[in-house]
């Protein structure tokens, strides 16, 4: 009896924590489609706030996709070959390189953004374009791509594969394209999902790097939280959720699949 009470208490506690995380998210989704949140859902449902968000902020949504897509492209081109090189080279230098490129995960985004501003803030064309934001996002997301690919390559015998292909006469570029990349695919996919999700939601760097003409979705969100009525802010948040949740679900499914095939998740 006492044990069952303890278990029930643990369940209640866990459910309460889950409610703490999920209830406000549901509230915001509801508020975004409610006529008047103060009067509650009894006031009826509407899409007017979502439409208003679209009119006011569609540009920020498009820009966020642009930045995320470009960041993905950049991290693929830079990160995948680098992950391969770091694995086949090994040694102290490779560890040092890995260490350096993972530093942006430990250093707050605000500091990195400030550092970028100090060096490149004077180049006004660059400063004013979305490429400036992209620079920050690439530095922030690159370690996720490199590490995801390295993790997969570390579980397969890259050197033997590589040597096998070489003994059949394949040059280094062909070996990379036809042997390494296909084998690294789960890592590349996991890395790509992380890069896009993180870029779409990035605020700490972007707030410092943006200009009034280069606002991204999270920057617009901060804007709407400060200056718009609760329903509009909620509708905007709803749009963000609709974008980000499929990515999160994909990441979850993917993690389940790859943890099933490997011993460690």
């Amino acid at each position: 009896m006492r044990d069952r009470l303890i278990v029930a208490g643990q369940f209640l506690f866990t459910a309460l924590v889950a409610a703490f995380l999920i209830v406000p998210a549901i509230l915001s989704m509801l508020a975004g489609i409610t006529v008047n949140y103060f009067r509650g859902i009894a006031s009826g449902f509407t899409l007017q706030w979502v439409i208003q968000v679209w009119d006011l902020y569609s540009e920020t949504i498009a820009r966020s996709f642009l930045v995320a897509g470009a960041a993905l492209l950049a991290t693929l081109v830079i990160g995948v070959p680098a992950a391969y090189a770091l694995i086949v080279r090994g040694g102290r230098l490779s560890r040092a390189v890995e260490e350096i490129i993972t530093l942006p995960l430990a250093i707050p985004g605000l500091a990195i953004a400030l550092a970028l501003l100090l060096v490149y803030g004077g180049f006004s064309d660059f400063r004013r374009s979305w490429l400036f934001i992209l620079a920050g996002h690439v530095i922030f997301t690159l370690p996720f791509m490199v590490r995801a690919v390295m993790a997969v390559l570390a579980t397969i015998d890259v050197k033997t594969l590589d040597e096998g292909a070489a003994s059949l006469g394949a040059g280094p570029w062909r070996r990379f394209r036809d042997v390494i990349v296909p084998n690294a695919r789960p890592g590349i996919l996991a890395g790509a999902l992380s890069v896009v999700t993180l870029s779409l939601g990035e605020f700490n760097l972007t707030w410092m790097l943006h200009t009034p003409l280069t606002k991204t979705l999270p920057v617009g969100l901060a804007d709407s939280y400060a200056s718009m009525r609760l329903e509009v802010a909620s509708a905007y948040t709803l749009v963000f959720f609709v974008m980000i949740i499929p990515l999160l679900v994909a990441m979850q499914l993917f993690a389940d699949i790859s943890s099933g095939s490997r011993s460690q998740a």
């Binding site: 866990t14 770091l86 086949v88 700490n204």
Partner: protein, 283 residues
């Protein structure tokens, strides 16, 4: 045989060459967009009107010191609370199978990718002027409770983004616990609390250190949540932001950023030196 040797030597050479080329884009980008800017940041912090005194001011100037103390305090409190909550929930979720368990886990990890600003808004919806808690309280007691914009609200926000980060690591560690050890302790007459204190918690130690360091570093650098809640508590990232934008005190903003970066990095490095694994904060 000689043909094989020369072939293998050529392979080795070409692979080393290819690896060098493959690393080049990374080296260029990391140098131009990270190493160079960070070096400049450290330099700018040291070469203002105050010279190196800008770094000393973080500790000596009462306003900065107070901000440093409250930020470290808030981050530490968040870390401890998140670890406690995640341990209770993580142990329960790994030891019991019941319908809806997967949904519960999904709910607990789902805010992982929320930006800090969105987390701030979640707290406004819970405890703000039109928030759920205030609404319920005014119906029950006639008194409206609003605390989103106070230190309690900030703490709740930090907890919100820390729990999902911590709980995954704890759950993975619980899964790897050896049930035989607990069994042995119980056979030797240990009660449930003694089993937890002497067997389970020590075994979860590395996971506590690793996920605690991530939670602490993330909380130290969190900017979006404090920005949205616009509290009167000056956490370090907010001070850096106001120094830079409102006061145009670029030297001090740079010095404070370096200080903040060092604290966050040191906590992760410390955790790694203890646990030996790779530990990194994100978001």
């Amino acid at each position: 045989m000689p043909a094989f040797v020369s072939n293998s030597a050529r392979l080795h050479l070409s692979r080393a060459g290819f690896a060098r080329i493959a690393l080049l884009p990374l080296a260029l980008v990391a140098t131009a967009l990270f190493l160079l800017p960070m070096a400049k940041l450290v330099l700018v912090g040291a070469t203002g009107d105050m010279g190196l005194a800008a770094y000393a001011a973080i500790l000596l100037e009462p306003r900065y010191r107070a901000s440093l103390i409250s930020t470290v305090g808030l981050a530490a409190a968040t870390t401890i609370a998140a670890l406690a909550i995640a341990t209770i929930a993580g142990l329960f979720l790994q030891r019991h199978r019941f319908p809806g368990r997967a949904v519960l886990i999904a709910m607990l990890t789902f805010p992982l990718a929320f930006p800090g600003v969105v987390v701030g808004f979640m707290i406004i919806l819970l405890a703000g002027r039109q928030g759920l808690i205030g609404d319920l309280a005014s119906r029950l007691t006639g008194e409206k409770i609003v605390f989103a914009y106070s230190i309690q609200g900030l703490f709740l926000g930090y907890l919100y983004f820390s729990i999902p980060r911590v709980i995954l690591t704890i759950m993975a560690a619980v899964e790897k616990l050896d049930p035989a050890l607990e069994e042995a302790a119980r056979t030797l007459g240990a009660g449930p609390w003694a089993v937890h204190r002497d067997v389970i918690f020590p075994a979860l130690g590395p996971a506590f250190v690793a996920s605690g360091a991530i939670a602490f570093a993330t909380a130290m650098g969190a900017f979006g949540t404090a920005f949205t809640l616009a509290t009167n508590i000056d956490v370090l990232p907010m001070v850096i932001y106001t120094e830079f934008t409102l006061s145009a005190n670029i030297t001090m903003a740079a010095a404070l950023s370096v200080g903040l970066g060092l604290v966050a990095w040191a906590s992760l490095a410390f955790a790694r030196s203890l646990s030996g694994g790779t530990v990194a904060a994100a978001g």
